[in-house]
């Protein structure tokens, strides 16, 4: 299993390159993971999406995919693609320290 060094700590990754243990995550780590995805600064709008994802994951056991984000996160599709270019659900899940969403939609 591969690992990534974030803020001096070695964190385990799953096969998709997301954190293997969501409990390793904290907000400082999120900022570092975001930088690795090319997002230099996490704004309040980014955090709305990240926090919604973590809440959904805790309740349902799966990270939400794009339609659920569009309908329920308070951020619409267009803005999601601006905040997290090239695949918002996948990128936001990685930054949120969650496994890649399993949904197709």
């Amino acid at each position: 299993m591969s690992t990534v060094e974030v803020l001096g700590k070695q964190l385990e990754l799953d096969a998709d390159g997301n954190l293997a243990n969501p409990e390793d995550w904290n907000e400082e780590i999120a900022k570092e993971l975001a930088k690795q995805e090319g997002i230099d600064e996490l704004t309040e709008r980014h955090w709305m999406v990240i926090n919604f994802m973590r809440k959904e994951y805790q309740e349902k056991g799966d990270a939400p995919s794009i339609r659920k984000l569009t309908k329920q996160s308070g951020v619409d599709t267009k803005e999601l693609y601006q905040l997290f270019p090239k695949g918002p659900a996948k990128k936001a899940a990685r930054i949120a320290g969650l496994p890649k969403p399993k949904g197709c939609i």
């Binding site: 995919s65 339609r67 695949g87 918002p88 939609i105």
Partner: protein
């Protein structure tokens, strides 16, 4: 990296509910993976982007052996409506949106949506007959130009 798909062009040529959704799901799925997507609607597939028709697409209950109902039964009045309602409710459970919402969402992801000029002329349609997400009416030649470097998927 070069063997990764970076761009897809998806042609939707059928106007039944089950004919339209696979292409929409593949287009949205491509965008979710960060793949560029272009949608090209042709022949009866145009119904999915015609403003007056897109909310009323039906499942074909005749001529489809995988429906597992006899052809004559499938042809009874109301069968298409029943099968359509059933399929729509199953799709909603899976978070698959209705056609109009799906087209809006796909367009918002940055995918481009085009209607086929030959079909538009054949059916005597105009730009204003389409939903606002249709970017343009283009010829097959223009479709190939826009698809440069893309994998083309015909549905």
């Amino acid at each position: 990296m070069s063997d990764q798909i970076e761009k897809v062009s998806i042609i939707i040529s059928k106007g039944s509910l089950e004919g339209v959704y696979p292409g929409l799901i593949m287009a949205n799925g491509a965008r979710m993976e960060g793949i560029e997507a272009t949608l090209f609607f042709t022949f009866f597939g145009l119904d999915a982007v015609i403003d007056k028709r897109m909310d009323h697409l039906k499942v074909a209950t005749v001529g489809n052996p995988a429906m597992h109902i006899p052809t004559m039964v499938g042809g009874l009045p109301g069968m298409a409506a029943v099968a359509t309602a059933k399929m729509k409710s199953e799709m909603e459970k899976l978070d698959i949106p209705p056609v109009r919402e799906f087209i809006e969402m796909i367009h918002d992801t940055g995918a481009e949506i085009y209607a086929c000029k030959a079909t538009v002329d054949m059916f005597h349609l105009k730009k204003e007959d389409f939903c606002p997400q249709v970017d343009d009416i283009i010829t097959v030649g223009e479709f190939y130009e826009k698809s440069a470097g893309a994998s083309i998927i015909f549905t």
